[in-house]
């Protein structure tokens, strides 16, 4: 079965049952069942329009589901939204800081509306700014910060109150490699210090490798749900990567192998390849090939097998401008 069960020995902190949501004629979520345990790092992976954001918005109490229920720490998100929100920390895909306030003022606002008592609030702000290495920027106006720093402030902000579940919707999108790495380092550190459930959506598959469980969704359904290793073992395929020396070789290989995927880098990837294929290619093209290797199954290939789409393309075509909101047709900001 597609595993909806929780890792052993932990009580579920997020329980989703039969969750459905429809926008007009489009079925965004088609009966999702899911439970996520305490202290788990849970990755949600899927192509654009797979239903990830809809699911996240329902969990954040921003959207009401048509059918089914979702509970955060035992509170129903549509019937007890205020109590559910108290258990939630959210880092949205789009920026949501007040750029005219300072870093500290943004964090303090969050603490106030989440009713964090004064002393605890002051302590948490200091701790979280240390965690994301922004202590010196405490009194800087947010509009003077870089995109990566803003992201870090938002992560610090989601942790000011005692959230049982922290949802990060594409926390690293649009950031450079160094910032991305840093953000994951903070999250790892935090997890060792505090009991916390993290739900992360991302387009960067390499980031998902460090998660406890990965859930791949498409067309509003769960396609696979398991640990990264188990997913690789089950759905992953070995592939041959070829670096052709010239265009003629490249087109030659592409013509011979209709299932080959041409990458932007000039490499050609042959999914499901074996040593026999390598021999055949070397026999056929010989010196036309500058490099050939067999790659172990990647989560990338798992994703490709399950959804029939390559996730990197999605990331590349992701527009930086506001995307239309499926519900109202207006830009989401």
């Amino acid at each position: 079965m597609v595993g909806g069960d929780v890792s052993e020995g932990t009580a579920p902190v997020v329980e989703i049952a039969g969750l459905g949501k429809r926008y007009g004629r489009t079925l965004a979520l088609d009966g999702i069942d899911l439970s996520i345990g305490r202290n788990e790092v849970f990755a949600l992976l899927g192509p654009n329009g797979a239903g990830k954001t809809t699911l996240i918005h329902i969990l954040c109490t921003l959207l009401k589901p048509d059918t089914g229920t979702a509970r955060i720490a035992g509170f129903d998100v549509s019937r007890q939204p205020l109590k559910a929100r108290r258990q939630l920390g959210v880092v949205f895909q789009e920026p949501s800081l007040d750029s005219r306030l300072t870093v500290q003022e943004n964090l303090n606002f969050h603490g106030l509306v989440h009713r964090v008592p004064f002393r605890l609030r002051r302590r948490r702000i200091t701790e979280m700014l240390e965690l994301v290495e922004l202590t010196e920027w405490r009194h800087a106006l947010v509009r003077t910060l870089s995109a990566g720093m803003k992201r870090r402030v938002e992560i610090a902000r989601a942790l000011i109150h005692d959230a049982a579940v922290v949802i990060l919707d594409e926390p690293t999108v649009g950031l450079d490699a160094q910032s991305r790495e840093r953000i994951w380092a903070y999250l790892g550190k935090l997890r060792r210090e505090r009991e916390l459930t993290l739900i992360v959506t991302t387009h960067y598959i390499d980031e998902v490798d460090s998660c406890d469980r990965v859930c791949i969704v498409d067309h509003g359904k769960i396609l696979a749900l398991d640990t990264p290793e188990a997913l690789r073992a089950r759905y992953g395929v070995e592939q041959v990567r070829i670096t052709p020396r010239d265009l003629a070789t490249r087109t030659g290989i592409m013509e011979q192998n209709p299932n080959a995927i041409a990458e932007a880098s000039g490499d050609i990837v042959l999914p499901g390849a074996t040593h026999g294929v390598v021999d055949r290619l070397l026999g056929g093209f010989g010196t036309g090939i500058s490099n050939i290797s067999i790659e172990r199954p990647s989560l990338e290939s798992v994703f490709l097998t399950l959804t029939g789409r390559e996730i990197r393309d999605q990331a590349a075509e992701r527009p930086t401008l506001a995307r239309p909101n499926a519900r109202t047709g207006e830009p989401v900001n």
Binding site: R86, R100, L101, H110, V113, R115
Partner: protein, 288 residues
């Protein structure tokens, strides 16, 4: 709201850690209020406008029209307001400053939606009522401050203020500011773009202001029929229908002791409209 704190996880943590109090919903209200006030006070342009606007009206319009105000119509003196034009227009200038600032503060609603901060507010464990109340109170506070800036010019307009009158005037100003901020927010939900809102505010503020008997008096000693001899009928109708007329009049009563209407009409109308506009502001917010 206070009875909630017993079951509030944050409050429980506080008790356990001895970390002080969170003040429950009041703290959240304070946080939202504080943000509105800070943002507005940091906006230099708004402050400059808040000082230059009254100066313009008092110095140029007030002083310029002062000599023509004594109603010494040749041949026949119909009606004499026992005040100088500067004194007469003073309350109107206060109201104008409050109007601009109140409506301006509603822009923060559009701003929040446009730049994403709205989400932070929507996932906060705060009832929508508290969010809207915090925003309206914040905007009203700033608008009241801008109204009080005008009061500082009272000396130059020959308006003598008693302490009791000042307090009553500030109360009225706040009520007016609350009412107009609610109206601004209610409309900001409908408009949703900065440009549209700019058009709206210009289309609403000045017409409302000029037809509120703020820059010229009606004659309280004349009957409506007699008034119609002086002014065209449509203008008199508009002035009577404009709720701001009564607000300006009540404020003028407090500032220079001159009332054209029943002094209690202003506060009553403002209180009713505050409730109505606040309801619409809240409804707009609930619909998202």
């Amino acid at each position: 709201m206070t009875d909630r704190t017993a079951t509030d996880p944050a409050a429980r943590t506080a008790a356990a850690e001895g970390d002080g109090r969170s003040f429950g919903a009041l703290g959240a209200l304070g946080g939202i209020w504080l943000r509105e006030v800070k943002r507005a006070l940091r906006d230099r342009g708004q402050l400059v406008g808040g000082v230059s606007r009254p100066l313009l009206y008092i110095l140029i319009m007030g002083i310029g029209l002062n000599p023509y105000f004594r109603a010494e119509v040749y041949g026949e003196v119909r009606f004499v307001v026992p005040y100088s034009y500067l004194q007469f227009i003073f309350a109107g200038v206060v109201v104008l400053n409050v109007m601009y600032t109140s409506v301006q503060s509603a822009v923060s609603v559009i701003w929040d939606r446009e730049f994403g901060f709205l989400r932070e507010v929507l996932v906060a464990p705060v009832p929508r009522f508290v969010v809207v109340l915090g925003k309206v109170l914040g905007g009203a506070t700033v608008a009241t401050l801008h109204g009080c800036i005008v009061l500082l010019f009272a000396y130059f307009a020959d308006v003598e203020l008693m302490l009791g009158d000042i307090v009553a005037a500030i109360g009225l100003i706040f009520l007016l500011a609350f009412c107009l901020t609610s109206l601004g927010i209610a409309i900001a939900h409908q408009v949703r773009s900065f440009e549209g809102f700019g058009v709206f505010s210009n289309a609403v503020i000045l017409p409302l202001f000029f037809t509120s008997s703020s820059v010229f008096p009606l004659d309280p000693s004349l009957s409506r029929t007699q008034l119609l001899v002086l002014y065209p009928e449509w203008l008199v109708t508009v002035i009577y229908a404009n709720p701001l007329t009564y607000a300006v009049d009540a404020l003028r009563g407090k500032l220079i002791g001159f009332n054209q209407f029943d002094p209690s009409a202003g506060p009553t109308i403002l209180a009713i409209l505050s409730v109505v506009f606040f309801y619409f502001a809240l409804r707009g917010f609930r619909r998202g």
